[in-house]
């Protein structure tokens, strides 16, 4: 089962630079491995990650097979207003997962 781990500070002061950590559970099969019988294992990775802050995109990433399984990404953003962070992961074979986190900005 796909599941996400998100770490966003619950509260922040306006203008603070906050770190956001995300982890999505995913096999990230590279497509370059073979089984013991020599069959190629097809690629199955997450290809895109997006973070929106109250609807505005603040971070986007293109992922390649060189990402570890259960891709972990951390980045920063300025806390501008209270609201919601929405995270989206898109990958091969129609993989699509979302997660969200709330922040209170004072």
């Amino acid at each position: 089962m796909a599941s996400a781990l998100i770490n966003v500070p619950a509260t922040a002061r306006r203008g603070d630079i906050i770190e956001i950590k995300t982890l999505m559970s995913h096999i990230m099969e590279t497509g370059f491995r073979h089984t013991v019988t020599g069959e190629a294992i097809p690629r199955n990775i997450i290809t895109n990650f997006t973070c929106r802050y109250n609807g505005d995109e603040v971070f986007r990433a293109d992922l390649f097979p060189a990402f570890s399984a259960n891709p972990f990404i951390s980045f920063f953003t300025v806390a501008t207003e209270s609201g919601k962070f929405e995270f989206q992961w898109i990958g091969d074979n129609g993989f699509q997962e979302t997660a969200s986190a709330s922040i209170t900005v004072t």
Partner: protein
């Protein structure tokens, strides 16, 4: 290739195998691996002919990793991250994984700090390159050497 003056074990075995099996094995000889040349080509695709200068970018990665399957990596770009002067994107490349790209990251002045962290796979001891595109269109880069004892990416599944 610059390395052709010293024969590695892999090259020797590949050549020996090729000699023994003839033309059929030639298809087999080249393993699916990126090379410094394909990395340069991937970088060219991103910078589109612009000059890439060393500096401003810091690539934090352990110099020696035991497990190439999870290598922690942090890229920091020195930038005021203002509307007038900020980092637009960060691109990470490797020399010897099957593909030269590791990731592309797009940020804006709203990031406040141009720093990203992730965990990546490395198939071999190699040099990583991080390139940052700034809002004025200039490109800056940093490289880091990593020694990998257990390779990732192409091992057999069990």
């Amino acid at each position: 290739m610059a390395e052709s003056d010293r024969t590695t074990r892999r090259q020797f075995l590949a050549t020996a195998g090729g000699a023994a099996l003839g033309a059929v094995s030639l298809v087999h000889v080249g393993p699916v691996h990126a090379t410094p040349d394909t990395m340069k080509a991937a970088i060219r695709d991103i910078v589109n002919g612009a000059a890439v200068r060393p500096g401003k970018v810091k690539l934090d990665v352990p110099p020696l990793v035991e497990n190439g399957n999870t290598v922690p990596l942090t890229v920091t770009v020195t930038s005021p991250m203002s509307d007038a002067d900020h980092v637009v994107s960060i691109h990470i490349f490797n020399e010897k994984n099957p593909q030269p790209n590791v990731g592309n990251f797009y940020i804006s002045p709203r990031a406040g700090r141009a720093q990203i962290a992730m965990r990546i796979r490395l198939a071999d001891t190699q040099t990583l390159t991080a390139i940052a595109k700034l809002s004025d269109g200039s490109f800056w880069s940093a490289t880091a050497d990593v020694v990998v004892t257990l390779a990732a990416c192409t091992e057999e599944a069990t």
